[in-house]
Symmetry: C2
Subunit: 441 residues, 2 copies
């Protein structure tokens, strides 16, 4: 490939004026933010111009590809089996990955999953895994490959060599008001996922109070953009649209979510969490060619849970990644909070739960010390929510709304107040919004 000498300002001006950038210009940008040919102060001007003018599907696909190739791209072609991953745009109580990855591996897929940490009100898969004593998430690529080959799944953090352009661009977007931009979000997510060496991908795009995207239309636009980028890169991508107004499942935090995930693998998971997990895992099995259709996928997943093979995969992953596998049978080895505090419906409460505000629940976890306001913050794995009441369930005075796992009374009091704000009642049974609202293929 030739190396044309571009001036960053020419590229900025073209986008500023509403034009489309060329493949070479976009490549110069993605490389340039890493090697310094595109200065930070020029990158942010371009990011704001992209925020304003948008990007065509072709530009978005080029940007994704260029960002992916800004660092190491893992090649898993020599590993037998279909490599399929899942990515969620994040939410409160979303522990789907911890259930889905072992379940999909038990059904015959290879799941090479690189995840992130929590920030703000949304939790992160890596933080949840680290609640398991000894569990290592920062593995290098050779170890990642070896575990993937042996166990069928591996769940790690992004290595510094993968998609450096995204790390750089994200850090700039975060402080320049250019985060909420569909083509940039799309390229950020897809470049990281495609760098994993996957054959295909299932996306869980959340919308609602507890999600990054508040509006369904925005989630739909993002889902379509990511599916299109997958197509452009020759990788089938399906995107599910999932409502995230109340937390997923009845637990949120780290220890509490690990427990709920293992319960799911034992066949005792809450209905909403299982619905989302089985839909996403099912799509992975179909995309990976392990199941001919969703009905067959559902049978395979039911069998993998019933015969214990999904739980066994979770155990094997723990062993391979240094975590204590006894966690599966003994939750007391997880970090445990000093106190449990039951939040109960007040005198006069009656009728049904009409709302469990996911954002406020996320803030309650932050209040307990289980969240991260800045990337450098440490999280307290022991604290969190369990036994959370769900929309549509009946209430009376004294009905338990949730159990708070707390390490500090003052924090507990703040969290309790947030939970009381989050949960609202209505005299009559409220209509239930469907959880899964669309599938873009």
């Amino acid at each position: 490939m030739s190396s044309p000498a571009f001036f960053p300002q020419d590229i900025i001006i073209r986008k500023r004026d509403g034009g489309a950038l060329t493949k070479d210009e976009i490549e110069f940008f993605a490389r340039g933010v890493v090697n310094g040919q595109f200065a930070d102060y020029q990158a942010t001007a371009l990011l704001m111009a992209i925020f304003w003018r948008g990007m065509t599907p072709q530009e978005t696909a080029w940007l994704t590809d260029a960002m992916m190739r800004s660092g190491d791209v893992i090649d898993l072609r020599d590993l037998p089996g279909a490599k399929v991953d899942k990515h969620s745009t994040g939410g409160v109580g979303d522990k789907v990955s911890l259930i889905l990855a072992p379940l999909a591996a038990a059904c015959g897929l290879k799941v090479p999953m690189m995840s992130g940490r929590g920030l703000g009100h949304t939790g992160g898969t890596l933080d949840k895994l680290e609640a398991i004593p000894g569990f290592r998430v920062m593995l290098d690529v050779p170890e990642f490959r070896a575990i993937l080959q042996k166990v069928g799944l591996a769940m790690i953090g992004q290595t510094p060599q993968v998609v450096p352009a995204d790390r750089k661009l994200y850090s700039l977007r975060d402080v320049t008001g250019t985060v909420e931009c569909i083509p940039l979000i799309c390229a950020s997510i897809m470049s990281k996922k495609l760098a994993e060496g996957i054959d295909s991908l299932v996306l869980d795009v959340k919308f609602g109070k507890g999600a990054f995207m508040k509006k369904k239309e925005d989630a739909l636009t993002l889902a379509r953009a990511m599916v299109a980028v997958g197509k452009a890169g020759g990788k089938p991508v399906w995107a599910q649209l999932t409502a995230m107004n109340q937390p997923l499942g009845r637990a949120a935090g780290h220890t509490t979510e690990v427990i709920e995930s293992i319960e799911c693998l034992k066949g005792r998971g809450p209905a909403d969490l299982m619905e989302v997990t089985l839909a996403l895992t099912g799509h992975m099995l179909v995309l990976g060619g392990v199941a001919p259709d969703m009905a067959a996928a559902k049978k395979q997943m039911a069998a993998a849970i019933a015969n214990g093979s999904a739980l066994q995969k979770f155990r094997e992953m723990c062993v391979a990644q240094g975590g204590d596998p006894r966690v599966v049978d003994d939750y007391s080895i997880l970090p445990t909070a000093k106190k449990l505090l039951e939040v109960k419906a007040p005198v006069g409460a009656s009728g049904f739960v009409s709302e469990v505000d996911a954002l406020k629940c996320g803030h309650a976890i932050m209040a307990l010390g289980g969240g991260r306001a800045a990337v450098t913050d440490k999280v307290d794995h022991a604290v969190g929510l369990a036994d959370l009441i769900k929309i549509g369930e009946p209430v009376a005075p004294g009905t338990r709304l949730c159990t708070l796992h707390i390490n500090d009374d003052a924090r507990g009091t703040r969290a309790e107040a947030l939970i009381r704000e989050a949960v609202k009642f209505t005299p009559t049974q409220p209509p239930l919004e469907p959880l899964i609202q669309d599938l873009i293929t």
Copy 2:
């Protein structure tokens, strides 16, 4: 004043979403780009958002004021007399300042003029003055004041202590596609002029082929914005709109323009240059209260030229600023080019000049080595254009189109080709566009 702690990203997001910034936010920005609280990569994102969303007149006035106060503001209140300056948005052959400042001083004004250097196809007043042997433009404020008091005018470069926010912002705008933005241009110009300690200001806003603003509407918008900022700051500002399709006068370069300026002060200037200069100087005299109206101003200016007092002010300025005053009577002490090259109308030429493209003439000066592509380039003061033909003048084969002052044959050939492209003919006398098209007060 309180010092509220702002986050740059909140300010960026408000502007990104089309909101108006507060006085405190704008002040934080102007101070922050200088002291580092507003990082460069955040400043450029905000600049692009301003490019997109614009600024209200109130925001523009606040930005101008905050930029002005980012450094030293010269206080000339103790100097007797009205302090009035002029600023031009720049053009090819625009040597008005060299004539206007001594003329206005001869009529009784104090003219505290801080000017810039040339860049690209437009020349700069400082470069032209430096063609005069010994002339010093980088004076400190005490010397500037002393000369202003003694001579009535001083023409210097901006000191590093004046409006540091503009220097920083301009250097960022220049490389991020955010130059052509009316509120930012307005704040940049006006903050520098108001920091001079003036009582009032006349602006010459150019539009056309050789100007920064190509379209009259844009020039009008900028003119109105600057007049409004002056009003907001309590300083009367008048803005004249001047067409700049062909160069102003018959000379362009440095030595050639100094000669033409002195000729004007001797009463032998070309009609178009004198028209613009007398209009602008006249407005200064009226604004400064030295003349009751334009008719009176014209009489005073005619007298100052006829009795030699304007020329004498030029001579005194040279003495005060280290320049050789003999230049007024002996042009041979200016840097002189090795060769003169007459560009003549070709065989078959007939009719009248319909166009003398100012931009191409500017490029011809660049080709000769008399311009500056980058701020660090050195200019050759000796080269340039003289005897330039004007729109509407008759042509026949052999008619002189201009005289090139050259130091290098190859460069001369390139410049000649550009002049031949610049000058176009028409069989019939073309309609003459008025030079001065509007006055905003």
